[in-house]
Amino acid sequence: MFRSLRTSTKLFIVCSTFVVSIIVATYGLVAEKEIAIEFVRKELVGTRYLQALQPVYATILTDEREATPVAKTKKGIDESLVALSTAEADTVDSLNTSESEQALTAALHKLLSGKASVIQEEHNVGALAKARNLASRIGDNSNLALDPDLDSYYLQDIVVTKMPTLLGQLGELEQSLLRASLHADAPSNYLVARPLITVRPLILDGMIRSTLEEIKRDLAAAYQGDTDGRLRKTIDAKMSSMISPTEAYLTTVTASHGEASDLVAFDRGYATAVDGAMSAWSTDEAELNRLLNRRLTNLQNKLRNSLILNGLLAGLSIALAVVTYRQIAGPLKHLRSLAQNVQATKNLDLRSAYGGRDEIGRVGVAFNAMLAELAEAHEREAAEQARTAAMQAELARVSRVTSMGEMAASIAHEINQPLAAVVTNASAGLRWLNGQPPDLDEVRSALKRIVKDGERGSNVLASIRGMLKKGTQEKTALNINESIRDVITLSQGALKNGGVSVQAELTDSLPSVLADRVQLQQVFLNLMMNAAEAMAAVSDRPRVLRVRSERHDTGIFVSVEDTGTGIDPKDMGRLFETFFTTKPEGMGMGLSICRSIIESHGGRIEVSPAEPCGSVFRVFLPIAEAGKA
């Protein structure tokens, strides 16, 4: 079924299959890239949320250090709340963090309502915990925690987990130092509890240091994935400006052994540390954003490039298919039209101009070779035909000359015989006349013989003239049976001498044929004489000559059959050839003349063996058409 399709259709199918496969591959690629892009986008949503979380931290952490006017604090918290709810509204569809956000909002509301007291401290710590919770929730839900790249993974770990932890711990340390200072103001009341109060900052100090260590480790790991060194360049200084003040602050705190001896120094250290941390956080955050955006751009570029590449591939395959079609169908069409042209014009000198080195080019070359071969064969055939024609013409000429020579010899003999007789008779007559006495009777009879011989010679010449007139035969509508009977009558004597009995089986009321009577009689006479000769050597069976005439569709058959010795089968085919003879003294003229006469009458003559012996010659003559008769 595929075979019967046109080449263009086949190519179209192949091309379509290819294009479809490209589209399927592209679809898979796009889907994969889309997933990656969606992933990054979600991460970016997370970082935006985290950005919104930074002022919240700033508000919580700055709030408790100094005797800040409540209005300002309130304003900061209000702004934080607005920023939070905006961020939450933006991401409510993707991140599912509303629970943590509400918890934080509630904690912030508590901060608003409270005063600077222990409870307030508790609220602060609670808010920090809630904020950290929210941050880690954002990290989990926005895929940040699943980030696939080395640099961005560790950076998000810092941004999402470590920095909130650090800030929370710094805030808690500040709170615990604050509480210690409050208890220092009333040592008598809290004597027993005092060690507990001073131990707390020390524990936090250790935790903060370990967090710092973790941040350093994360950084080192992030730098591993940072191939161009830009990340390090950007955040290294910031991180140092966070870590060293923090460590200095911690050193200060440790040096005080938990005693809130110098609150001012603490506050300064704390503020520097928190500023550094906030600054580092926001820088980290910005870098993370940058990395994610870069990845997003990369992915989008890759997707676009892949799409362009696949589009180009599809276009190329279509173009290739079109070109291939042109290169197959074009030359094929050209060859077909060439073949048709050759067929129509019979001009074998036409050649295909297409001679590429591909299969069709080879077909073209083979086609040309075939045409050349054909032309050559044609030429050979034409030359052969010309030669055959020339040979036949030459043969005809030679045979004409030869037969004329033979004819002349035969004529010469026929005339020579009476002539010789005349001369001899005349000589004899003279001698009788010169005799003493002259014998006039003998002279008279000699002269009579001379007259007779002269007439005989004249007859010969007349018959030759008749033969020469053969070309202008006088055709008349004649009854063929009459002609046959005439010939039988004429040859009766010769046949009787040869001991031949004649059986004439002539069909009555045959239509007439248009023929030259004399020529036809020559033919029948010749056939009968041949038959009589063929039976001359027969002694063991009756010598019968059977002449038949019968009607056929379009003509009349006359058959002359003998019971003679028959014809050698190997001679059968040559019997009618000029100069072919089986008789020692024959010239090979009789049957060939018979055939040319019969053929000039539009008939034919053939010979076959008779049963049980002898041969039969059959002459076919067409019946005269009504108009011509």
Binding site: H413, L419, V422, R431
Partner: protein, 213 residues
């Protein structure tokens, strides 16, 4: 024009053409020759021929057996008739063959009457000579047969060139006896001289060699 006696020879004419036969008959009869006509070789062979000097005037082109083949047949049958060929369209190979086989003349129709008559006369003369030779040899054979054995023996030695004396010695008889036998023999053989006797011996095919030793 000589006039040979009417009955001492006969000319046989074999030709398939009746008018030619009739003309030839008239021509030969006009010079006093006896003519016998045949239309074919077969007819000639079947007929009886008079034992007279004769010759054959033969057309080369005959129905059935051709003239040349007929000539061969005659030679094979040891019939030594002189033959004159006449032909309508003779060619050189044909005439050469005919002459080689002993034909007297080969004439092309139409021929001059004198040529034919001369050829016939020559042929008849040849046949007559041949017949006379055959006849004389027959006479000699008869004479030779009449000799006594002694006479034959003596004549044998004589023709071998021996003297009477030598013969007498060889035969163991007297010289007189030899002379008597020799004289009788010579007389019986009809010879008058030794030379004549030797010629007769040669004709009889009895060379002297037989008695030489």
């Amino acid at each position: 024009m000589s006039k040979p006696s009417a009955v001492d020879s006969v000319v046989f004419v074999v030709d398939d053409d009746a008018s030619v036969r009739a003309a030839l008959k008239s021509l030969f009869e006009s010079v006093g020759l006896t003519v016998d006509l045949f239309e074919s070789a077969a007819a000639f062979l079947q007929s009886q021929h008079p034992d007279l000097p004769s010759c054959l005037v033969l057309d080369v082109r005959l129905p059935g057996l051709s003239g040349l083949e007929f000539q061969d047949e005659l030679l094979k049958a040891n019939i030594h008739l002189p033959i004159i060929f006449i032909t309508g369209h003779g060619d050189i190979p044909m005439s050469v063959r005919a002459m080689k086989a002993g034909a007297v003349e080969f004439l092309t129709k139409p021929f001059r009457d004198q040529d034919l008559l001369d050829a016939v006369r020559l042929a008849l003369q040849r046949d007559r000579t041949r017949r006379e030779e055959e006849k004389s040899i027959a006479t000699l054979k008869t004479r030779y047969a009449s000799l006594t054995p002694r006479e034959k023996e003596v004549l044998g030695f004589v023709t071998a060139g021996l003297l009477n004396k030598q013969i007498a010695a060889k035969m163991g008889v007297s010289e007189i006896t030899v002379k008597v036998h020799r004289g009788n023999g010579m007389r019986k053989m009809g010879t008058r001289s030794l030379a004549e006797l030797i010629k007769v011996a040669a004709l009889l095919g009895r060379p002297a060699s037989r008695a030489t030793i």
